[in-house]
């Protein structure tokens, strides 16, 4: 336990400590549920990293949207924007990318794929833009507005795959598949891992550099950490930075959707996102909103989901437990953080506010 306490004192350590606590809790649950823990652990291992196939086509393939959308959440949260609408922005991006791709079947891939991705980003930004405008013009809490927009996007996709974008036979509630040229290329022969994963990693590095080393990134951080000081001491146009970060977050989430349809599903259907937009919140939080750490957290969660599927298949452990781990990791990070702040308050001088 002292090891955990010491670990929790550092930023990354808090995440690791929370994860260990969550995994320990889940292990107990699995044992209490009467499952063979050795069998379950083997299945988890085999499903996530046990073979090249499970690692590349299981873990990394699932990690790709989580990394991209996790970046979307991290950027928004850094700016103090509680965008919980990544799910809806992802759907908007996916739908638009598919629509663009289907209409460009005859074009060469080096044109159609970038157009699809850009269209997805634009759609995601536009969808987030609705909430951003409502916040800026009318002071609407983005938590509630983005939640509403998630539902509207869901119904929108449902309408599209049964209406204007439905596949030619009009039997299945989904779109036709994208032409081979309009898909993201696979990067390892024999695997399904596609170029989108590389893009996600590059994007995370760029985002990390942007947040850390550019004036624009610093503005996002100061606005998120102290909007009043940013406006007064830094003369930062807070509204504009918040608006920009909101749009950028939406664009990233939209890109996540576009990458998923052009790299994995090749078509749009209702269940295209099993809640990536919500899991991404856990990813971003576990990564302490640090874009580089989002890569690690995204792969960790991707591995959990791949391994979870393996556990259900091989050891009969219900896959719902992956959500339990994700939730416990989030709660663990929150609790460890809180404990750290309280410990800090006890150890440091307070600042004379109370002695008036």
């Amino acid at each position: 336990m002292t090891f955990l306490v010491r670990l929790a004192r550092s930023q990354a350590g808090a995440s690791v400590a929370a994860t260990l606590l969550a995994l320990a809790a889940v292990t107990l649950v699995v044992i209490a549920g009467g499952y063979d823990i050795g069998h379950a652990a083997t299945a988890l291992w085999n499903g996530s990293v046990g073979s090249p196939y499970s690692f590349f086509t299981g873990t990394l393939l699932r990690a790709t949207p989580l990394i991209i959308v996790g970046l979307a959440v991290a950027v928004a949260f850094q700016a103090g924007v509680l965008n919980i609408g990544a799910e809806g922005q992802l759907l908007a991006g996916a739908a638009t990318a598919v629509a663009a791709g289907l209409s460009m079947a005859a074009w060469p891939g080096w044109i159609s794929v970038p157009v699809e991705l850009v269209a997805g980003m634009a759609a995601g930004a536009a969808w987030a833009g609705i909430a951003a405008v409502l916040k800026r013009r009318f002071g609407v809490l983005e938590v509630i507005s983005t939640l509403m927009l998630n539902f509207i996007a869901l119904f929108g996709v449902s309408y599209l795959v049964r209406g204007p974008l439905q596949e030619p036979t009009h039997i299945y509630p989904q779109t036709a598949s994208l032409a081979a040229s309009a898909r993201l290329p696979v990067i390892i022969p024999g695997q399904r891992l596609h170029l989108g994963f590389v893009a996600a990693v590059v994007l995370a590095i760029v985002a990390w550099w942007f947040i850390r080393s550019t004036a624009g990134g610093f503005r996002i951080r100061v606005v998120g950490a102290g909007a009043a000081a940013a406006a007064s001491a830094g003369r930062v146009n807070v509204d504009r930075v918040v608006f920009g970060a909101f749009l950028a977050s939406g664009a990233l989430a939209g890109l996540g959707g576009a990458v998923q349809v052009t790299g994995v599903t090749y078509a749009l259907f209702e269940g295209i996102s099993p809640g990536y937009g919500y899991t991404a919140i856990a990813v971003a939080l576990l990564a302490r909103l640090n874009p580089l750490a989002v890569i690690v957290a995204g792969i960790f969660f991707g591995g959990l989901e791949a391994g979870g599927a393996g556990m259900q298949r091989d050891a009969g452990v219900p896959s719902g437990f992956v959500s339990v781990i994700e939730a416990l990791v989030v709660l663990g990070v929150l609790a460890v953080d809180r404990a750290r702040i309280l410990a800090g308050e006890r150890g440091q001088p307070t600042t004379g506010e109370q002695a008036a």
């Binding site: 080393s213 550019t214 004036a215 990134g217 610093f218 503005r219 951080r221 100061v222 950490a225 102290g226 009043a228 000081a229 940013a230 406006a231 007064s232 001491a233 830094g234 003369r235 930062v236 146009n237 308050e345 006890r346 440091q348 001088p349 307070t350 600042t351 004379g352 506010e353 109370q354 002695a355 008036a356």
Partner: protein
């Protein structure tokens, strides 16, 4: 005198916040049926002491007695039940609710009814008995400040408060309203009740109180009847002998240079359509300190922000230099980001204008220079702003704003919450800025402090700014709009 004669008695109370000692064995006895003034500078521990008496805080050591019995408040609910009421400096009223609802707030019972008519009757009855009249159906958000304060007192009386604690009640009142309040308090104590008045206004306290106690650095340093105490002795007790040599006359003959900031017929209206500034014209010149005074809400808040280029007025001409430092009153909200390092907080200054990539090594060097030059005590430039003491935070902010020799510096209550040593250091910084040719505009709610440092005075009243001699009586008259 037996203990039973004391309505309220705090003995040897100690209270620490982190490493800051707010109260250090303070002793405070209030005779029943008297008006007792609790005097002290900002940060002397007055409010903390009274929050202990009211059960909002618990003492680390010491005893609290009320009505002759030892008390161990668990919360202010206990103190309220024992007949103590407190009127806080920042009113604790729910703006969206009516007067009657605010008065009924805190009644007990999960399913006990709240009848607006009964509550309204209660408000009217208290009004009839005490002369504190308010419309029970009025929404608090629509009430002027004086009426809100009356409501705070009514709230306490509705709980049958026999001991009323008022924290700086006249800070927000006009002089006529203050007089009204004082005469009401007088009638309150003649009915056998007790009142404690927290204030830093020595002259007023000596004029109206039956007893005064002076608190300094968490200890009661002087206590007695006003007629037995000389005003100068009380002041000396408040600021302490170590600080008396800091109170000096305005530096005479400092010759002001060219005009650096100039406002011409500036006017401003806030979001609710209230005129904040009306036809204000003023200048601040190189090498002078222009003192600004004003009762809360007279427009000085907006004026300072216009001078600092933080707020654009609706009308009039504004000429500002390229580089203006600004030290706002609420440093942890408006000047610093507590969760960031000193390096980042230094870079914050240029966050709005910076382009391209941020050169952290250069900011690190500048932050190091700032903490050395301005004697900021910290473990290093990478420590968080929140880890510094209030005085060191303020020195850092001042240092940051003075870095690279700005043309002008606008400061607002720069010594708020600081101890006496930090205060004198901050004032010395302002003087040396003036000496190096910076145009300084300074507002302080502590009139003596502005008068001690200003070369010229401007007084805000009702959105207008008037030039006033650097002299206490003239300023006091101008504050009330009498000049």
């Amino acid at each position: 005198m037996t203990d039973a004669a004391f309505a309220l008695s705090l003995r040897g109370v100690t209270k620490q916040f982190g490493s800051t000692v707010a109260l250090d064995g303070a002793q405070f006895d209030v005779r029943a049926g008297t008006l007792h003034a609790l005097l002290g500078e900002n940060g002397a521990g007055k409010t903390t002491l009274m929050r202990l008496a009211f059960g909002m805080l618990r003492p680390d050591a010491g005893t609290i007695e009320a009505g002759g019995t030892a008390r161990h408040w668990r919360s202010s609910a206990d103190a309220i039940a024992a007949g103590i009421g407190m009127v806080h400096q920042h009113f604790l009223l729910v703006p969206a609710m009516t007067v009657a609802e605010n008065v009924s707030l805190g009644d007990r019972g999960l399913f006990r009814g709240f009848d607006p008519r009964v509550a309204a009757d209660r408000v009217r009855r208290i009004g009839a008995e005490t002369g504190l009249v308010l419309d029970p159906a009025a929404r608090v958000a629509d009430l002027p400040v004086g009426a809100q304060q009356r409501l705070e007192i009514i709230k306490a009386l509705a709980r049958d408060a026999k001991i009323l604690i008022l924290d700086e009640p006249t800070a927000v009142l006009s002089s006529a309203e203050s007089q009204e309040l004082y005469s009401w308090l007088r009638s309150f104590v003649t009915r056998g009740c007790t009142a404690v008045l927290i204030t830093h206004k020595v002259r007023e306290a000596l004029a109206i109180a039956d007893d005064v106690t002076v608190l300094r650095r968490g200890r009661a340093v002087l206590s007695g009847r006003p007629r037995e105490l000389a005003e100068s002795a009380v002041i000396a007790a408040m600021i302490g002998s170590a600080a008396t040599d800091e109170v000096q006359l305005p530096a005479a003959g400092s010759t002001a240079g060219v005009s650096v900031i100039s406002l011409q017929h500036v006017s401003m209206t806030d979001g609710r359509g209230v005129h904040r500034l009306r036809d204000v014209s003023m200048e601040v010149c190189a090498g002078e300190i222009v003192g600004i005074a004003g009762v809360e809400g007279s427009g000085q808040h907006e004026l300072l922000r216009v001078l600092a280029g933080r707020l654009a007025p609706d009308g009039g001409g504004v000429r500002l230099p390229a580089r203006i430092g600004f030290v706002p009153e609420d440093r942890l909200r408006d000047a610093l980001i507590p969760t960031m390092t000193l390096v980042e907080n230094l870079a914050l200054k240029e966050a709005g204008s910076a382009r391209g990539s941020v050169r952290w090594t250069s900011y690190e060097a500048r932050a190091l220079g700032t903490i050395r030059k301005h004697d900021v005590h910290t473990s290093g430039v990478c420590s968080l702003a929140s880890a510094l003491s209030g005085g060191n935070q303020q020195k850092f902010v001042l240092g940051r704003e003075l870095e690279g020799s700005p043309d002008a510096l606008v400061v607002e209550n720069p010594t708020r919450g600081l101890d006496i040593r930090a205060t004198s250091l901050v004032l010395a910084e302002l003087r040396s800025a003036r000496a190096s040719g910076v145009a300084v505009a300074m507002y302080s709610s502590d009139l003596d402090e502005v008068l001690s440092i200003a070369d010229r005075m401007i007084v805000c009243f009702d959105g207008r700014a008037t030039d006033t001699p650097v002299e206490a009586d003239a300023v006091a008259r101008a504050l009330l709009g009498l000049s």
